[in-house]
């Protein structure tokens, strides 16, 4: 049986994972690594959902964590297709170089 004393530590781990992912999005320039950091942030949300569901004795957190996993998979599929396409037209894989794509 997992002690309830660990609940704040689980939430702190979720906050830590989210912030590490956000920091990675900000300081890394490789779009592949940026996508991995987004996965980290989504997993931090999942961890918070599951931890709250466990300690509030509710299963709804797990249902929503499942949906977050599906959304993350869809996001990875589209994102990696975009990266492949960017590579195919001969652009460097660098977030800073790609920032003028919006123009």
């Amino acid at each position: 049986m997992v002690s309830t004393q660990l609940f704040p530590y689980l939430l702190a781990l979720a906050g830590f994972l989210f912030t590490v992912g956000a920091a990675g999005v900000l300081i890394r320039r490789n779009p592949l690594v940026v996508f991995m950091c987004i996965e980290l942030m989504l997993n931090a949300g999942n961890l918070a959902l599951v931890a709250y569901g466990r300690f509030l004795n509710s299963e709804e957190g797990q249902v929503f964590a499942f949906m977050v996993i599906v959304v993350a998979a869809a996001e990875v599929v589209v994102g990696l297709a975009l990266i492949t396409q960017i590579f195919r037209i001969g652009r460097a894989l660098d977030i800073d170089d790609l920032s003028e794509m919006s123009e």
Binding site: M1, V2, S3, Q5, L6, F7, P8, Y9, L10, L11, A12, L13, G15, F16, T19, V20, G21, A23, G24, L26, I27, R28, R29, L32, V33, M36, C37, E39, L40, N43, N46, L47, V50, R54, F55, N57, S58, E59, E60, Q62, V63, F64, A65, F66, M67, I69, V70, V71, A73, A74, E75, V76, V78, L80, A81, L82, I83, T84, Q85, L93
Partner: protein, 183 residues
């Protein structure tokens, strides 16, 4: 149980740092595999057996294989980043401050009421969450998969259907994006 959970949490935190600071994208991907696997262990210990299986199959299986495949296909050159400049300092400070703030808020049971945010000890001072300390309880009494599926196909049927629509759109979008343009 508690010892395994603490070890899994520590490995999750350490390998998540590895995702950000690895110089090569492949090492980041391998660190992410460890992070996701250890998170799966945490889910298992939190009585979310279905999510444990889903996490292993979808993340460590499908998503990471896709990542490693793309990395091998594109073979991006090794980055000379990250360097220890002021971005790094701000990021590190943000990580530390957020973790401490979330821990303090969770430890003291910060709640929101009409008087705004305030600290409130829910249970005793030593263990504010003892009011939540249920055993496995009625939630998982009939099995985790049955419980989650029951919610998924009744209460959350509409979000579930919208999620399936999202998957369809993502599949069509990926095929459209990667098609070879007609000359």
């Amino acid at each position: 149980m508690n010892a395994i959970l603490v070890v899994a949490m520590a490995l999750t935190a350490i390998s998540s740092i590895g995702v950000v600071i690895s110089r090569e994208a492949l090492y980041s991907a391998l660190s992410l595999v460890v992070t996701l696997g250890m998170l799966a262990v945490v889910f298992l210990l939190l009585n979310a057996q279905f999510l444990f299986a889903v996490q292993i199959i979808i993340y460590a299986g499908a998503v990471m294989v896709l990542f490693v495949f793309i990395i091998a296909l594109l073979n991006p050159e090794a980055e000379d980043r990250p360097v220890a400049d002021w971005h790094m300092t701000i990021a590190l400070g943000g990580v530390v401050v957020t973790t401490i703030l979330v821990f303090v808020a969770a430890r003291n049971g910060v709640t929101y009421s009409d008087r705004g945010f305030r600290g409130q000890l829910i249970g005793s001072a030593n263990n504010p969450y003892h009011a939540f300390s249920f055993p496995v309880g009625p939630v998982n009494a009939s099995g985790n998969v049955q419980t989650v599926a029951g919610q998924l196909f009744t209460t959350f049927l509409l979000p579930f259907e919208i999620t399936s629509l999202l998957l369809l759109v993502a599949a069509i979008g990926a095929v459209y994006l990667t098609r070879r343009a007609a000359h």
